[in-house]
């Protein structure tokens, strides 16, 4: 038992590990410095919270701690920063249109309140990112202040009238149907499906009907919805809200129709769902590059334990 110090097995193993660790340090790709061009411009108390909890991965000003500079943590940090900035970069916040900024803020808040963001793995070693309820309340209060519900102006009403008067049933042939860049197709039959639920979106002044194809409706009837069966399709249609001075609201201009199509093989890389959005009466597919579906998946992460579906189905 009384071996010399350097012969002890533990010491030897530790030494080998230390050498490996040392070699790892040799690999250190550069973290490219990019300028802050249009930083987030909300109130200071909100910004301070976002800086502490989000900016390391979602801005051009990552504040890496000493241990973040050690491999393999460094590589993880770099990958997180790259992915984080692709989805949201506070240093380029001002380049987004006002409506997109507002939508993003609601998404940020919902990611925070559900504990989806900041990432748990990141919080473990970065306690400043561990948001306290009081901090989330500050962000929530700021964002809730952006909810503005008021009677529709004439522009909104005219847009609805114009659309209605020009609306003719389209009978597109299969090969003419629009598709997203990744090939997820528009499905004209949604209007003949049954309803899963409706939503009143006070964050962006739209109202929505969520349709389900017969497979989805059967799954609801049998209460087999987590996971949803293969072949399930949801279509969510959004319209402007047209509110009168009495608070009665009806559907205005058509904004978009969005689909979630369940096919675990075909859409393996996007959580088993095909994601699509077709905007305006021209049904313009959303997404300039193949990565658009990552955006869809990321926003749906708060409901990852519910097969990425937000809608709470109503049995009809």
């Amino acid at each position: 038992m009384n071996q010399p110090f350097y012969k002890r097995r533990t010491i030897q193993v530790l030494a080998i590990l230390l050498i490996c660790f040392g070699i790892l340090q040799a690999y250190k790709p550069e973290l490219k410095k990019e300028p802050v061009t249009a930083d987030f411009n909300g109130p200071e108390n909100v910004k301070a919270i976002l800086k502490a909890a989000c900016y390391d991965c979602h801005s051009n000003e990552p504040d890496l701690k000493w241990f973040d500079h050690l491999q393999p943590a460094y590589s993880i940090a770099l990958a997180d920063i790259k992915e984080g900035k692709a989805g949201l970069n506070f240093s380029e916040w001002g380049n987004m249109a006002a409506g997109d900024q507002k939508a993003k803020l609601f998404e940020i808040l919902n990611q925070m309140t559900t504990g989806t963001m900041p990432l748990k793995s990141y919080q473990l070693l970065h306690p400043s990112a561990n948001l306290k309820p009081a901090e989330i309340a500050i962000v929530k209060n700021y964002i809730a202040g952006m909810i503005k519900e008021h009677p529709a102006d004439t522009a909104l009403m005219n847009a609805a009238d114009k659309q209605f008067n020009n609306w003719n049933e389209q009978h597109l042939k299969a090969e003419e149907l629009p598709k997203t860049i990744s090939g997820v197709p528009y499905q004209p039959d949604y209007k003949n499906w049954q309803v899963v639920s409706t939503t009143d979106r006070i964050d962006n002044n739209t109202m929505r009907v969520i349709f389900g194809n017969p497979i989805a409706i059967k799954a609801i009837a049998e209460h087999q919805i987590n996971p949803w069966p293969e072949g399930t399709i949801f279509a969510k249609v959004a319209w402007d809200k047209l509110q009168d001075s009495d608070g009665n609201t009806k559907a205005g201009a058509f904004k978009q129709v969005e689909y979630m199509i369940k096919d675990s093989d075909k859409y393996k890389s996007t959580k088993g769902w095909g994601w699509a959005r077709f905007k305006t009466m021209k049904l313009l597919p959303y997404g300039k590059n193949i990565g658009y579906a990552t955006e869809c998946v990321n926003c749906h992460r708060p409901v990852s334990n519910n097969d990425f579906v937000f809608t709470l189905p109503v049995k009809h």
């Binding site: 929530k140 209007k191 939503t199 979106r201 919805i225 409901v303 709470l312």
Partner: protein, 158 residues
């Protein structure tokens, strides 16, 4: 060995602490309060969505359904009723969407109102009934309700 147990316990506690922070989002559940009464067999009526509406003052939301004749009427630019139309207006009290701050969804189911039209000689006869547990007529308000339902236009669905 004791070392290992201590570490495992620590990791386990850490995982529990992380797990506890997740709020319950009712995964896999249905919107029970909003479900339509089973005895209505609503889906089996074969009606399609015409439009939906919200009443902010009363915090209610509704979806208007109809058969093909009703759909055609609400899509047309003229206001001439035909016989054989079936309308069903389903209403709920609203509730906040626990899964999305900024959204409201159907809460407790309130009622279904049905308007049907029938040819009666040269005129069109309209009838009204409402379901809130059982089907009833409502002579006091039914003219106003018929007028409201027949005034709706189809929501635009390309």
């Amino acid at each position: 060995m004791r070392f290992k147990i201590q570490y495992s316990a620590l990791i386990l506690l850490l995982l529990i602490a992380i797990g506890c922070k997740q709020n319950n989002n009712h995964a896999g559940e249905l919107n029970e309060a909003a479900n339509l009464p089973v005895e209505l067999h609503f889906n089996q009526l074969g009606l399609k969505v015409i439009t939906s509406m919200i009443n902010k003052k009363e915090a209610t939301m509704s979806t208007l359904y109809g058969n093909e004749a009703a759909l055609k009427y609400t899509k047309s630019k003229e206001d001439s009723t035909t016989s054989g139309m079936v309308f069903a207006l389903v209403s709920w009290k609203q509730q906040d969407d626990e899964r999305w701050f900024g959204a409201k969804i159907p809460g407790p189911f309130q009622r279904v109102e049905m308007v049907t039209t029938k040819a009666n000689g040269n005129t069109i006869r309209t009838s009204y009934k409402t379901y809130t547990g059982k089907w009833q007529t409502n002579p006091l308000t039914e003219q106003a309700r018929i007028k409201y339902i027949l005034a709706q236009k189809a929501a635009i669905m390309p």
